[in-house]
């Protein structure tokens, strides 16, 4: 029961981050560039005592809910593809063991953008979209690294909080 409440709380945080992100004009006329703030919550779920199933659940709910609230059905499609590929990359990256949360977050950011571009390629049925890839890889790397650093700095405090609560 406590876990449900906690996941609900994190979902709310992720939704707020989605909203904040939709307010920031950061696209430079290139589809798919964004800060990826909600990914911080997914990363936190992966590294905190929850597993990848919880991360996937929160992420899918976040995408569907924020899609209906702040954008449209097509965006949901892109975001789901990006989210799925990004989560898979992060889970594998974490399992490999030689990355810190920063590296895992970079993997998530880059693969999120690759996933979105792939879906876009199928939707508009052209390879032209792939010319955005260099920019999207760079932006995924930078935003991923920054979010990774934030999450890495947060984790010890969260763990300490949990210990205090349990004792």
């Amino acid at each position: 029961m406590k876990r449900t409440a906690e996941l609900g709380f994190l979902l709310a945080v992720a939704l707020i981050l989605s909203y904040v992100e939709s307010l920031i004009p950061f696209s430079f006329g290139i589809p798919g560039i964004k800060l990826g703030l909600p990914n911080a919550v997914v990363l936190l779920l992966l590294y905190d005592h929850h597993g990848c199933r919880e991360a996937a659940l929160v992420n899918v709910l976040r995408i569907v809910l924020s899609g209906f609230m702040f954008s449209n059905l097509y965006t949901i499609l892109y975001a789901l593809a990006g989210g799925a590929l990004s989560l898979a990359a992060m889970v594998i990256g974490k399992k490999l063991g030689f990355f810190s949360p920063v590296g895992v977050s970079v993997l998530g950011g880059v693969f999120h953008n690759i996933g979105q571009i792939t879906v876009a390629m199928f939707v508009v049925e052209t390879y032209a979209v792939s010319s955005y890839l260099p920019v999207l890889i760079a932006s995924g790397t930078l935003t991923g690294a920054l979010l990774g650093i934030v999450v890495m700095e947060m984790l010890p405090y969260l763990q300490q909080y949990r210990k205090v609560q349990e004792s």
Binding site: Y74, G103, S131, P134, G140, A145
Partner: protein
């Protein structure tokens, strides 16, 4: 769990990604020429092809107005399931409120999206395209506007001869 630190593998990954991005960017930019042919595609179907140079473009045009160096291409989507309609104008056309549209401007060898009623407006904010292989994509309307270089023009000309 104690505090984690950035590892060597992270730095390696970041450098690798940035390098991949720069290299693929350079690869796309090399041998870039001016675009000579404009292609408008909807959902994978080619709607409109024309050379960017004026004289060629107006073999497609029924409009007989004076030939300034600016042309407007209005793409409207009257029914969701059928192909969109394309009309060429020499003056900025009035847009009907009730149909979904993209308004493309062709001027001085450059192409840009003047207006559209798509929700994200990414195509409108996109900078003007002029070079070979550059494109403007309106994902909500599944519309791709693409420029291609000299070699592709040759192909279409060959096709027309047949």
């Amino acid at each position: 769990m104690t505090k984690q630190h950035i590892k060597k593998a992270d730095i390696f990954l970041i450098v690798l990604c940035l390098l991949a991005s720069v290299l693929s960017g350079l690869w796309l930019l090399t041998g870039r020429q001016d675009g000579t042919t404009l292609t408008v595609t909807y959902d994978g179907t080619t709607l409109y092809t024309a050379a960017l140079a004026q004289s060629d473009m107006f073999t497609h045009d029924t409009d007989e107005g004076d030939k300034g160096d600016i042309r407007y291409l209005l793409i409207t989507y009257p029914e969701p399931e059928s192909l969109p309609k394309i009309t060429v104008f020499s003056d900025k056309p009035d847009i009907m409120e009730d149909t979904s549209y993209n308004l493309l401007v062709i001027t001085d060898g450059k192409v840009y999206m003047e207006a559209a009623d798509c929700p994200d407006q990414i195509c409108v904010r996109h900078k003007a395209i002029a070079a070979d292989r550059e494109n403007i994509i309106c994902l909500p309307h599944r519309l791709v506007v693409e420029l291609s270089g000299a070699s592709q023009t040759q192909d279409t000309l060959d096709g027309m001869v047949k």
